[in-house]
């Protein structure tokens, strides 16, 4: 609101917002703090906020003992692979919908989105069975494909909204300039839509990274990503607060950073363009 307000009100606003903001953020902050404590300090009573011996020991232990690197790589491969694969399939589809619309375009788009609404448990066993039959259970490839499929509607949708903003004239100009369809998409559309494509990829990477139904149900030891690695801490014998915190911090830190960059795209992608 572009009007003058008193400094007093601004101070009240600021205080209230910061208090609530910190309260909401506190669990994350506390987890990060705990990850630097010793196990004894982590459960000390009363709890220690800053006056503890900062240590990196938990990180070392988690890294050495639990094959953390493999889970991390699995997460990166699965989230990254499903994103790339999804983009490759979605760019041509979104091109078609945005630039050669027909009467069916709208229905197809809505239908695609509606597949996203299908509850996963409804198809859990068939997918499980198919995965066993095809030898995809507990494989990175299988999980990559599934995560690509569940996020494909969002990728197509987001790209569609970004492509819609590009004037058709420019693509027609390319056609008149002698560009083949491939050149048109490669040299003209893609560079122009690059910011949109990048944010689509970012959001999709985040969604895939945090996905916790298929990653838990379709993996065992080999292809398990970080979601499953963290879930393994829920068994009581493995429970150490400081180490759990260190592992958690490592699992969420990259995504927190990426997520903060993609706030705006998040709204666009998750509301299917209905809120701008």
């Amino acid at each position: 609101m572009a009007r003058a307000i008193t400094n007093n009100r601004k101070i009240i606003n600021t205080t209230a917002a910061w208090l609530i903001g910190l309260l909401i953020f506190f669990p994350i902050l506390w987890t990060i703090l705990t990850s630097f404590k010793t196990e004894a300090q982590a459960i000390a009573s009363p709890p220690l906020f800053v006056g503890f011996d900062w240590t990196l020991e938990n990180y070392q232990v988690v890294l050495e003992r639990s094959n953390y690197a493999r889970f991390l790589w699995n997460s990166i491969f699965i989230a990254g692979g499903s994103t790339l694969l999804g983009i490759l399939i979605a760019v041509p589809a979104a091109w078609s919908m945005a630039f050669v619309p027909s009467k069916k375009t709208k229905d197809i788009l809505l239908w695609m989105l509606s597949t996203k609404m299908l509850p996963a448990v409804g198809v859990l066993y068939p997918i499980y069975l198919l995965f066993i039959k095809m030898g995809l259970l507990d494989s990175i490839l299988g999980l990559t494909i599934v995560l690509m499929l569940i996020n494909l509607p969002i990728i197509v949708w987001m790209l569609y909204t970004y492509f819609k903003e590009i004037p058709v004239d420019i693509l027609e100009a390319a056609r008149m300039d002698g560009a083949s369809l491939r050149s048109e998409i490669l040299y003209v559309l893609t560079p122009m839509a690059l910011p949109g494509i990048a944010s689509t990829m970012l959001l999709n990477f985040i969604l895939a990274w945090n996905e916790a139904f298929w990653t838990l149900n379709l993996t065992a030891a080999k292809a398990a990503p970080l979601t499953a690695f963290i879930a393994s801490y829920s068994s009581p014998e493995g429970l150490f607060y400081a180490k759990l915190s260190a592992a958690s911090t490592m699992a969420i830190a990259p995504i927190l950073v990426l997520g903060w960059f993609s706030q705006k795209q998040l709204v666009r992608g998750l509301t299917f363009g209905a809120v701008k």
Partner: protein, 288 residues
């Protein structure tokens, strides 16, 4: 812009996405539908043939069905009320002029990016553990007896955890919608003598109408399917078994595929009812 060339090219280029999604939807769903009409226990005799609607009837009549529906509705309803009410308030607060707005925004949004298994575990152990959890310390500090959250207040715990994860989503979308409200409209209403509460009910809330509907519908769809939060915390015990979780248990834990599949179909129907409303809104938006 539409020539035969570009139209046929368009069809070709749309084909992979359409075929993949069609396959992804139809193949497993048809299989689930097929299994739901059969007595199928892979570990105890395998596929024992056609049983008609028996699975649907026994899933419906089982002692777990109604509690699971109740649990589902409680979680969905509870989380919706909390996230929507606090989301609106937070969005209005964050829209006010203040220092460090960008940072506060980041703090508020952060929980949405935490993977579900992490947030469930951190809450369960570091906060809600009856001995070493932060809440236990807090209770003891005020001289109260610590709550054994996961068993005594299991539903409240799960609603709290899930609300914490989804509050940022509601806030972010409602904030985006709030920011698109023309400030002149508010100023005009102020000149017309509307008081803050009146401004909220007559101007701000109607403006947020569509964003609120979207938030409610999208959250409902995701909340109907929450899994990891229950899997990691209570494992479905202490009355926290949702419909989705019940189906999961029937299918993967007790390996009663027929029964689980019938339950899966119920879940699909439930989600579709919500999805139809959501699609209608999104579809309307497509025209403009």
């Amino acid at each position: 812009m539409a020539t035969q060339h570009s139209r046929s090219a368009a069809r070709m280029m749309m084909a992979p996405a359409v075929i993949l999604l069609l396959g992804w939807m139809l193949v497993p769903l048809t299989m689930t539908l097929w299994f739901s009409f059969r007595k199928y226990l892979p570990l105890r005799g395998g596929d024992m043939g056609w049983v008609g609607f028996d699975n649907y009837v026994s899933f419906f009549n089982s002692s777990s069905f109604w509690p699971s529906i109740q649990t589902t509705l409680l979680i969905v309803g509870g989380v919706l009320i909390i996230t929507v009410v606090f989301g609106v308030l937070l969005a209005l607060l964050l829209d006010q002029p203040m220092w460090g707005q960008g940072i506060v925004r980041i703090l508020v949004i952060a929980p949405f990016f935490v993977m579900p298994t992490v947030s469930a575990l951190v809450w369960k152990n570091i906060f809600m553990d009856p001995v070493n959890g932060l809440f236990a310390h807090l209770w003891k500090f005020f001289g109260a007896t610590p709550v054994v959250w996961m068993s005594q207040a299991s539903m409240e715990s799960i609603i709290l955890i899930v609300s914490w994860q989804w509050l940022p989503f509601a806030t972010l979308i409602l904030l985006t919608a709030t920011q698109s409200l023309d400030s002149e409209q508010l100023e005009a209403s102020e000149i017309d003598g509307a008081r803050p509460l009146q401004r909220f009910f007559y101007i701000i809330l109607p403006h947020l109408g569509r964003a609120l509907t979207i938030v409610i519908l999208i959250q409902t769809i995701f909340l109907l399917a929450i899994f990891a939060e229950i899997f990691v915390t209570t494992g479905g015990a202490f009355g926290t078994k949702t419909l989705s979780y019940l189906v999961f248990q029937r299918v993967l834990e007790s390996q009663n595929i027929g029964l689980g599949s019938a339950g899966g179909i119920y879940a699909v129907i439930l989600a579709n009812i919500v999805a139809i409303f959501l699609m209608r809104i999104v579809g309307k938006n497509l025209d403009t």
